[in-house]
Chain length 205, copies 2
DNA sequence: AAATAAACTTGACACCGTCAAGTTTCGGCT
DNA sequence: AGCCGAAACTTGACGGTGTCAAGTTTATTT
């Protein structure tokens, strides 16, 4: 082993997750290599097995962190109670797109990969938390102040989520090439204009 | 070589594409194996190299076929000139989601993979054709009968595309687990209700 | 019929994920 | 304090992967 390091790393699990995140941000999720992650963390190729069952296990944990970060991004951008519910939903959407662009590989891992195990309770919890945040903003917008679920609230949340997710995915994957490169302000305006029609018609029944 | 086959296959290129499509539909893009595709086509592991530069080349061609099939699906479902433009846009959306569900791996290859080379003229042409089909339906809906592009038409097309793509991606990736399994009619209704607000407000300026 | 090109095979290489077995260190028990 | 088991980590092996180089077979051209 190298001189600096102890045999027992101490915080290898966290270190591996950090390394893996850098790994996929540089090489993309499709070129993920567990051995490279281990090397980056300065340990042998089989070391990760003691902290994660296999590569899928690591990617499951990483995906959970991805959803956590998505939620953090949304919360950081939330204008808060004083703002209108409509503004708050739009801010969520803008944060969602920000996340997709800034952490494209992680976004892909979360939404377009079969490698994470979505049965995993930790991942499920993190993914649901990010979704429920949006659901609660939509409910507030629709003045459904009750914590109870309404079928219609769910439908509307899914509609808004789809709109936001679609633009995030297409922008991050560079599929909207008839747009030039949008700066942040232009992007935010695009997202707002896309959400406008969905928020204008509450459509509660 | 096996008794039945000739040394020169004759139509190996097409055969490889067919085999690759089956391959990814069974194993997903993330587990794509060029050697397995070759084996499935009854040919040695290095044979594909004579028809495609490398695995990426094959996947580029396959992605182009994916966009072609997406367009075909949309055209097959188009109610035609007699229907309202709104109905035609909705049918496009329903076909898009159908495609994503029925050919999930291919959909992922087209929209959530870095492996195809999107600089490839063939792929670009196929992808653009599928997009332009939607753009023309939207233009018709907005009564912009001119073939000319309007900035606003582009924005509206992107908005509708994002909505459709979002619901397609989330449904196909099984991310809407608060919905039970939707049958085809329910799915179509969901898509229609999502597009309704976007089509109701032409918002041309 | 001979030469050339194309299609395909075989074998090698480095890299990959995972498993098994060995080594080092940590922590608790006596 | 000293031991001992468990945990953390390493080393080495295995089959599988994509790609390259070199050889063999078939088709086409001259």
């Amino acid at each position: 082993m190298d001189g600096s390091g102890k045999y027992h790393h101490g915080a290898l699990k966290a270190e591996l997750l950090k390394a893996a995140e850098i790994e996929i941000s540089e090489n993309g999720i499709e070129n993920f290599s567990l051995r490279r992650v281990a090397k980056r963390a300065g340990v042998s190729h089989a070391a990760p097995a003691h902290h994660f069952r296999d590569a899928g296990g690591l990617l499951t944990a990483l995906a959970a962190r991805g959803f956590d970060k998505l939620l953090e991004t949304a919360e950081a951008r939330d204008p808060g109670e004083t703002a209108s519910a409509q503004e708050r939903v739009m801010s969520y959407g803008q944060a969602y797109v920000d996340f997709a662009l800034r952490h494209h590989a992680l976004f892909r891992l979360c939404f377009a990969s079969d490698r994470p195990d979505y049965q995993d309770p930790g991942l499920k919890a993190s993914a649901d938390a990010a979704f429920l945040r949006l659901a609660s903003l939509v409910a507030r917008h629709d003045r459904q102040d009750s914590v109870e679920w309404s079928v219609n609230g769910l439908r509307r949340t899914y509609a808004i989520w789809s709109q936001v997710h679609g633009v995030a995915d297409l922008l991050a994957s560079r599929k909207m090439h008839f747009y030039g490169n949008l700066d942040e302000a232009e992007r935010d305006a695009v997202i707002k204009s896309m959400l406008q029609p969905l928020l204008a018609s509450p459509d509660r029944s």
